[in-house]
Symmetry: C4
């Protein structure tokens, strides 16, 4: 397979909001927001996330690395450096990559006795 | 961080419909439609929503303000001026901003004993 | 409010599939696929749907009319002329309008004891 | 009806992840990821999928054929040649077609006692 160069270098997710509370076994049923990032290029993607809030300064950058010809699933719950993302708090995410990638956003919400899921493509800027 | 100018000045959500009825503690489990609006620019975003219906004149504008470098989560349930949006009634929403923003639409439906969620990017026009 | 001209004249939904079976009171909990169509223009939108299947000829057109400055929510379950859309059967939908409209696709699935929902923007072609 | 030529020849789904575990009767309640592919053109669409992982080489191609003027629903669970897609494992999918098609991605998750669903348009590249 020939390495492809597919995607965009900046993606936005306006509607982050990690649900607070979990029913079911962890970690598979832990309520979470996540990113799925695909790097079809032939070189490593060095990525930075910046997190925006309703009532305080943006925070970041959160560094992520996706190898060439690999994808990565990242739970926002696991982003703790420079600052853990608070649960049950609205946030937005801007992703910047040095090579084109493709990004999907998903949520799992198990606050009640059966889980709920949602997904969408992030919004490509440039 | 240098302020960025990211997004579009007009966004459309055709399929609004606030579910009628709630199971669970309020306000976190209240059935609702919501907008998440990100303003990465260096100035305040003055935004107006217009709501379209199946069988009456469009209503609005509903003013919303998002500070520079901030996001805002807005529940349609809370829009009451000039007129509360009726529950269990289909509507569409057109959002107009004076600076570029990025907009996501979400729904939480707790009419039955476990919640359901859905989300998508709004549709950028201009 | 000045009438706006917003949207696209052709939209596609590849993944139609009306869930078969309902738990809860009808019609609000009936399992269904639906379209939400917004017409912000100053004239009536004359719309036609064509339905594609896995193993037979496309069917249609199904006519829909959306008044000027109005939206319309249409359940696929209610499309019966020229032919009712079978439940539990994959289909795709191509929508053609004579004025620009904006289209969202939604599903409600109540086959099990708590409902599930999903939504997305349809795909604009032209 | 005149055959139309609608869509894109390459589509990406970054966030594949087949849920592991099922509640309810199979196959209708089997947890799964799926693609819905619409071919409105007048000729057969010869399609190939390549699957990307977090920690090993991409796999494929998985061949799919969609007849002229037909759609096809494909469960990722059923893709077994050249290699079955593991359950509960993040993956991305790149779809390449020789004629323009339109592609939607869906998930059904019945790991808990009521099902959950999510859907989105795949991301068109070229």
């Amino acid at each position: 397979m020939k390495p492809q160069k597919t995607g965009s270098k900046q993606w936005v997710i306006p509607g982050g909001h990690i649900p607070f509370g979990t029913n079911g076994k962890e970690p598979e049923f832990t309520s979470h927001d996540s990113l799925s990032i695909l790097n079809t290029s032939g070189k490593v993607a060095d990525i930075e996330l910046v997190i925006y809030y309703q009532d305080r300064e943006p925070n970041g950058p959160y560094p992520i690395c996706v190898e060439a010809q690999r994808m990565k699933e990242v739970r926002f719950n696991d982003l703790i450096d420079p600052l853990a993302i608070a649960l049950d708090t609205p946030y937005s995410c801007v992703l910047q990559s040095d090579v084109p990638v493709v990004v999907q956003f998903s949520r799992q919400d198990t606050r009640q006795t059966a889980n709920a899921i949602a997904t969408m493509m992030a919004w490509p800027v440039a």
